[in-house]
Symmetry: C2
Subunit: 178 residues, 2 copies
């Protein structure tokens, strides 16, 4: 599959079936994420793959309830990946202060998309989740105060057909040659 075809195949899935996910596939997704580039090669990430039933159910229940229930569909995903953003100690931390932005957020974007695109190649469905109860997630997973979970990834097999063009701005709107 060409890279453009892979990119087109990836869709955010909000309709997961209960089909379990093969661990070999998950490991290749992690490998793709592991090889992602990052500022100063800081690799400010850790991936906690939650698949065991009691933990996943508690995590999903606490993460996606109340004001976060717009993502309640993710309670049905057979796998949730908590992407832990580590505090960075590389020169990128200093550069980030000077430039007033957080390089690790860009790094997390890259690494998670590697995970998601590998999942697509493996025939899995995914959904990026950026709206959930982070405090509850950190507590349940016993994370340190300075660690953050900006992103959760829902992984599984979609139970509905998805098709059609992606809704995006046109190439003319987002790019120019000078």
């Amino acid at each position: 599959m060409s890279f453009l075809d892979l990119v087109k195949k990836r869709r955010s899935t909000r309709n997961f079936s209960s089909t379990p996910v093969d661990r070999g596939k998950l490991k290749r997704c992690l490998e793709a994420a592991r090889l992602a580039p990052s500022a100063c090669n800081g690799q400010p990430w850790r991936f906690i793959v939650v698949e065991s039933v009691p933990l996943r159910e508690i995590l999903a229940e606490r993460a996606f309830s109340g004001v976060h229930s717009m993502n309640a569909f993710a309670k049905k995903a057979p796998v949730l990946v908590a992407v832990v953003t580590l505090p960075t100690r590389s020169p990128a931390a200093f550069a980030g202060l000077l430039r007033r932005f957080s390089y690790p957020l860009i790094d997390i974007g890259i690494a998670c998309e590697h995970f998601v695109l590998q999942a697509t190649e493996e025939g899995l469905d995914t959904c990026w989740l950026g709206w959930f109860n982070e405090r509850a997630v950190k507590k349940i997973l016993n994370l340190k105060r300075e660690e953050r979970v900006h992103i959760l990834l829902a992984v599984g097999c979609g139970s509905g057909a998805q098709s059609g063009e992606k809704k995006r701005k046109s190439l003319l709107e987002i790019s120019e040659f000078r």
Copy 2:
């Protein structure tokens, strides 16, 4: 090429030759970036592809001099892409305030990596650049006050062989199953 092979093939190139870059290849890179997912589908990006000689030389000279000269190698790249991060007006802006982080930075990470991986598939070499004189870049490109350029991408053909394993933490170090 499998996605994992593509990921392994991508290297940061710091040794560009003067070979010009085919515009059709650049357009496919932009198309891959255009199709990237983003928070609330906000697509907070614009790509200014700088390839014309006088503008590129001025841009590179001002971007990569003085305290930013560690990236002076990029002055030789035949193409520089200024990735403009647009101020977001989607619900992601509100969510970002509540969660205390900038969703557009994650989105920029995803979209730029789509660009870079498509470039790799096209046989091009790239380098992510996060350290440059942003104020000068914004002025030369006549950008708005509220727009930012967090990332520049250098694109071209590498003139040296690159090989060897990528230096990364091990899978055990960055992941666990629970």
